[in-house]
Symmetry: C2
Subunit: 215 residues, 2 copies
């Protein structure tokens, strides 16, 4: 298998964590998003959406979208550590928390969105001062923190005492929020889970700084 990714992409970061937890190895192909490699004819042949990550299977089939990839890895490698709980409601809860990050926070603060605003409609301050970025982190993390506080199923990790797909989504989001200087003191539960995750090598090894294309 090959993973098309970029050190700074938090969707690719999610997959790197999943691969490390599952102890799966593959070839990493780097798509330099800031140089626009994702819009090359070659990469659009891999993923016509022009986004990373994309997983290329040994038969040449391509799977795109981070949650789809993680679900696939769980199904395709049943003898590895599972990233979804073995009960139905638990799986639903993990998918919900994952979507609360992957649908409700991340897409709004993606590089292409920040670029579009600053190039087209910005008042000159929203992007420069991170007003936009911090607003959606605050709204989104308030929701995630409440989902975590709301349930007895939250443990050392987002769901119980083992990492799941939800943690694969949460940790890259917190990493990014901190990089943009967001104040995270209002999210103690999320931050405790972040510490617990970062005590594991599988999460640390997946960090942008640890990737071969880091610059």
């Amino acid at each position: 298998m090959k993973l098309y990714g970029y050190y700074r992409s938090s969707a690719a970061f999610r997959i790197r964590i999943a691969l490390n937890i599952k102890e799966l190895e593959l070839d990493h192909i780097f798509v330099h998003l800031r140089k626009g490699d994702q819009r090359s004819e070659q990469y659009l042949g891999v993923n016509p959406q022009g986004l990373v990550p994309a997983l290329e299977l040994d038969d040449g089939n391509i799977i795109t979208q981070s949650m789809g990839i993680i679900e696939y890895l769980d199904e395709a490698y049943p003898n590895t550590v599972s990233l979804l709980p073995d009960n139905m409601f638990g799986r639903a809860r993990v998918r919900s928390i994952s979507s609360a990050i992957a649908c409700d926070i991340h897409p709004l603060n993606n590089l292409r969105v920040l670029n579009f605003i600053s190039q087209n409609i910005d008042d000159g301050e929203s992007i420069a001062n991170d007003k936009w970025y911090k607003h959606w982190i605050q709204v989104g993390m308030n929701g995630v923190e409440a989902l975590l506080n709301n349930s007895p199923d939250t443990g050392e990790f987002c769901h119980g005492n083992n990492p799941t797909m939800a943690d694969c989504c949460l940790i890259p989001q917190i990493y990014n929020a901190e990089r943009f200087g967001c104040d995270m003191t209002d999210y103690p539960k999320s931050m405790r889970i972040n510490s617990n995750c970062l005590s594991l090598k599988a999460f640390r090894k997946a960090m942008p700084e640890e990737q071969a294309d880091f610059e």
Copy 2:
């Protein structure tokens, strides 16, 4: 079961389609998003994210996020029509197309985002002229159309000849795009699938105009 929704919410629209295809009945609770009911203390007790849809199970447990709800319905009611293919790669493909809509298009054009831009950073034209809305429809639908054209697995529906979760996501997105006056002629494959879906009562019955809270 109870579904908390709103006629105009396209994420709730997805669930209504899924319920109709599965022939599952439940109580509909209406949360008036334009009046701000989603921020009431009562509703935040149901879903602390303050978003619809939310599914309340008979035991009182709550499942939020449309993709998590559809996956749950598929698992919890195995004797109903399945919205995910029975092979692994097919499931991955359906989840990818679903995310290409639910993560990469819909969150950017959500009411709360349009409101934030027009209230905070708009140049006075981006929202009024639907420049923002149409841009993300164009970028997003180009990707979805390419994903559909890219694969022999696309049939009368997004994946094969039966509706899946991907169609539950696509049809509400096209409905909204048309409501905003987007030109859809560049997406013939998507529009043909849209016609095929709308020939089915399960999709038509789920439309906003057919809901009891429509106004």
